[in-house]
Symmetry: C2
Subunit: 177 residues, 2 copies
């Protein structure tokens, strides 16, 4: 039987990108914000928009993506998914040309079992077809035809139209019963 295909997003799903932004914001503003400070709030209720925008511009810089931390349990669960499913990593990264090689190097470091054949960089994920999508952005999930898992993130707390997963352990329980 053909294996089902799962497409997995990188930022804020495999990689703790929001944590890096908060860390940079704290360093710049001498604050001590944690992800939990954002729970149930709108993002700009917590940060200073002007200051945050400056931090966010750093995504265009060389090196920004290379040292982001891996999300808890992602390596262990994605390795298991990789055995049962065809796992594709799909990152909306073409907006950030410097990120592309960094993201490949990052994947090679933490997910060496993922082949280059199973990596996709794009701008608009509606071009991708598969059976399951795990993503934190509604814009990516909304056009997807298969099963849609919204990975819990600071910025998607107000969206309730998708099956929500809060951790890789939850994904393991759902997809590897």
């Amino acid at each position: 039987m053909t294996k089902q295909r799962i497409v997995i997003d990188m930022d804020d799903v495999m990689a703790a990108t929001a944590s890096k932004f908060i860390k940079l914001y704290n360093e710049k503003n001498h604050t001590n914000l944690k992800e939990s400070d954002f729970l149930g709030k709108k993002f700009y209720e917590v940060v200073n928009p002007e200051s945050y925008r400056e931090i966010h511009e750093r995504v265009y810089e060389i090196g920004f993506f290379r040292d982001i931390e891996v999300m808890k349990d992602a390596i262990e669960v994605i390795r298991k998914l990789h055995e049962k499913y065809e796992v594709f990593i799909v990152s909306a990264a073409t907006e950030f040309p410097n990120s592309l090689k960094e993201k490949i190097d990052w994947l090679a470091e933490y997910f060496p079992f993922i082949s280059w054949r199973n990596i996709v960089f794009c701008g608009d994920k509606s071009i991708v077809s598969a059976d399951v999508m795990i993503d934190d952005h509604e814009k990516n999930l909304s056009t997807f035809k298969g099963r849609r898992l919204m990975f819990d993130a600071i910025h998607n707390q107000q969206i309730h139209d998708y099956e929500r997963v809060k951790s890789w352990k939850e994904i393991e329980a759902l997809l590897l019963p």
Copy 2:
């Protein structure tokens, strides 16, 4: 009405990659081969396999993709396609991490009307879904569900299972009647 989506390959469809290989081969071997010397022949009947493999390894080098010439009439016809269709550029490039930014820079130089939103880099094109695919490789066309146009190339002369196009002007006549 929603526009139809066309996915267009880069190497040997938009970019004259085979010509660059032949040029490098000629320089190294003091030969004077042209693309027309390959017509109706198997590739390795014309080149020395050992010497060609060395040339081909250069695809991994920084800069290899950046200076490849644009295929004849590609800019003009793709600009017209872009008006009538949703054009996505889809290149199987993740095998060559150094090529990714170069390919974005190359597209920005010759096809500035193509947004980063419409660029896809992948390893296995079977993940991509659209209405029309223009590609020179059977491995990419064979799993595609829409209309499949095989772009004429040295290496695909023995394959007769696809609608074949020999130039961008032929594509214009077919898709922009």
